[in-house]
């Protein structure tokens, strides 16, 4: 029976490869610090492998989401003990402060890979991506977590509720509010998807 098959090393590696980029971006949206996000993802991977590396492959996604959430919470707790927790957009904006440079970097490969795409389209696409990222980062934490788990990680309502430790009704409420907030914010910026 497939769900009972223990994860092989190859399966574990492929699973981590499939989630690592999304996990990194999610952590960046939460902690607004790229270095911290990398540390959080690294810790999460290590904990999953060390403590649950012998679990069935089907259980890995849920376990990883729980571990990632816990590692993110731990990071916030550590920050709180060091100094008062601030949630301004300052750090995130500073990370984007060299946004012009990032934009050029981001544009470099798409132009190579999509030769038919004009530079204007690529620039516009990158701008929309950044705007979406900013709006997601600006969402309240629980809404953002629910939205990203539910739609980006493609977890169902029950799984998201279990991972977040709340009721399914709360997940639906968080997701709905997140979608409406994003819709409103992006519409205000003249962005249509």
């Amino acid at each position: 029976m497939r769900p009972c098959d223990l994860a092989t090393e190859q399966e574990l590696s492929e699973f981590l490869k499939s989630v690592e980029r999304r996990a990194f971006k999610r952590s960046v949206y939460h902690v607004k610090d790229q270095e911290a996000a990398l540390d959080i993802v690294q810790d999460s991977m290590m904990k999953l492998a060390e403590h649950y590396g012998d679990k069935p492959a089907g259980e890995l996604p849920m376990l990883f989401q729980r571990i990632l959430s816990n590692c993110t919470l731990d990071w916030f707790r550590r920050q709180k003990t060091r100094r008062a927790l601030f949630s301004t957009m300052g750090d995130f904006e500073n990370a984007d402060g060299d946004g012009d440079f990032d934009l050029l970097e981001n544009l470099a490969s798409p132009i190579d890979s999509r030769e038919s795409e004009s530079a204007e389209d690529a620039t516009r696409r990158a701008q929309i991506f950044r705007e979406i990222e900013e709006e997601i980062a600006a969402l309240p934490g629980r809404q953002r977590e629910a939205f990203l788990m539910r739609y980006w990680e493609e977890m169902d309502v029950a799984e998201t509720a279990a991972a977040m430790g709340c009721s399914q009704g709360s997940v639906k409420t968080h997701c709905s509010r997140a979608v409406h907030a994003l819709s409103k914010a992006l519409t205000a910026k003249g962005i249509s998807l």
Binding site: R22, F24, A49, E50, D54, E105, R125, S176, H180, S192
Partner: protein
């Protein structure tokens, strides 16, 4: 520019108009957003991708290995029996040399005790069978006699 036909505003209006199930419209909009996010994650800076790769490799190398017994039980019953038998053979293989060592030491001890007892018995019997009575060896005069006799020779 590659744009979808439904804007965010339209999504909201459709949700509220009730022509589609509200969650369905929300979900479509959400899927478009995460699709853009997924597209963006494919273009992460090289150093970030590399650090993620190193972290993944390190994590996999530190992976918790499934125990042998768990694997055996997870398979068929016959293999489970074989696995248990194998465990018993391994235990016997470790215990048998220890038992042999202890038995050998006991045998050596018993044999040495017997040899020592027989040697003492031979000495005792020789003393008792001799013409000279054993009490003579405790006599100081006889000892002096033996010394003077050997020096005279």
């Amino acid at each position: 520019m590659n744009m979808s036909s439904i804007t965010a505003g339209e999504t909201l209006s459709r949700s509220s108009s009730g022509s589609h199930p509200p969650m369905s419209a929300d979900e479509r909009f959400a899927r478009r957003i995460v699709s853009r996010l997924s597209e963006g994650t494919q273009e992460l800076p090289h150093d970030v991708v590399e650090r993620l790769r190193v972290a993944r490799t390190r994590a996999v190398s530190n992976r918790r290995r499934p125990t042998r017994q768990v694997t055996t039980v997870g398979n068929s019953g016959g293999e489970a029996m074989l696995g248990l038998g194998q465990v018993w053979w391994n235990r016997l293989g470790a215990v048998i040399p220890l038992v042999a060592l202890v038995a050998g030491l006991l045998v050596i001890s018993v044999v040495q005790d017997d040899d020592r007892a027989s040697e003492l018995a031979d000495v005792d019997s020789a003393l008792l069978a001799d013409d000279l009575p054993p009490a003579a060896y405790a006599d100081p005069g006889f000892a002096q006699f033996l010394k003077s006799d050997s020096s005279a020779r």
